[in-house]
Subunit: 159 residues, 2 copies
DNA sequence: TATTGTTATACTCTATAACTATA
DNA sequence: TATAGTTATAGAGTATAACAATA
């Protein structure tokens, strides 16, 4: 839609921005994955699932987990099965709908997640310690603006 | 190292920033992957390898590709094999070292990559079109600062 | 009929480590 | 010995689609 009228000069800028953001994210993510594995013998999706439950003490249904983790349902089943087998989460019946479960942390899961989250926070803080608190704030706000617009305009089917 | 003296309030900010950046990156990345598959029947690592070669017309050695793509050597061999089989890249002997190759785009690979890169740029531009050029610039600069510091301080082994 | 969740499957990407050939 | 690259393997992560049970 009227791409021509914009002039060309800003396009490569967006591209450079994206490449930098992608590289940086991969760098941090790679370190987080490796630390999670080394120190806790776990993975990022498993950590992510537990983090979602930590924020929702009453538990979440499978389809809510699926949406929040941005993966399809079958995968959530698999990750949940592993965590159940280790006694870190549990499936609770939902009264009034016998198809659905709520998944929630067990006490042991909550305790272990507390340790992991504490360390994780340290890795992240050190990743961003090159920025002042004001810069962290500015970055957070700018990314929020991108995300906001992006979610409002989900698919550019015309291209 | 002296985490206590920093005060606690800024830590959750860095964490929130990271979660937002990770989510946004995954969102864009997921769309790029899906478009690359739908329109060009290719994948992000393959696109990435070709992009590296586009920037280096004389080609790159396998270990240089490995470093730039941030994956181990065996994987580069596999991706390169696929692209060679499709006639998009070629292995060229390095005079003076019979162990090494340079990998470079074929004319057909260069042409196809041109099309892909053009579309890809469109997806990225639309992902960031919620920002003004000045904001794009600011974001780029802030991320550069993070990356710079991060690379100078590679591993927080103490935590 | 639609929805919730599971199962089965296949494929890509990845790291690790053993290996070959050359330096 | 060290380096460049390959091969073999195993595992994580993912999507798709068929399926069962319930709404």
């Amino acid at each position: 839609m009227d791409m021509e009228a914009r002039g060309h000069s800003e396009h490569p800028q967006a591209l450079r921005l994206w490449l930098r953001m992608l590289t940086l994210t991969q760098l941090v993510e790679k370190q987080v994955r490796s630390q999670l594995r080394e120190r806790f013998e776990t993975t990022l999706p498993r950590f992510d699932l537990m983090a979602q439950l930590e924020r929702n003490p009453d538990g979440l249904k499978m389809n809510e987990l699926s949406r929040r983790m941005m993966v399809t349902g079958g995968n959530v089943t698999g990750i949940t099965d592993q965590l159940v087998a280790e006694g870190l989460v549990e499936r609770v019946e939902v009264s009034g709908d016998r198809r659905a479960y709520r998944v929630r942390l067990t006490p042991r899961g909550r305790s272990l997640f507390g340790e992991m989250a504490h360390q994780h926070e340290g890795w992240i803080v050190s990743a961003f310690e090159g920025l002042s608190p004001e810069e962290v704030q500015a970055l957070h706000q700018l990314l929020g603006k991108v995300k906001q617009h992006y979610k409002d305009t989900p698919l550019e089917t015309a291209a």
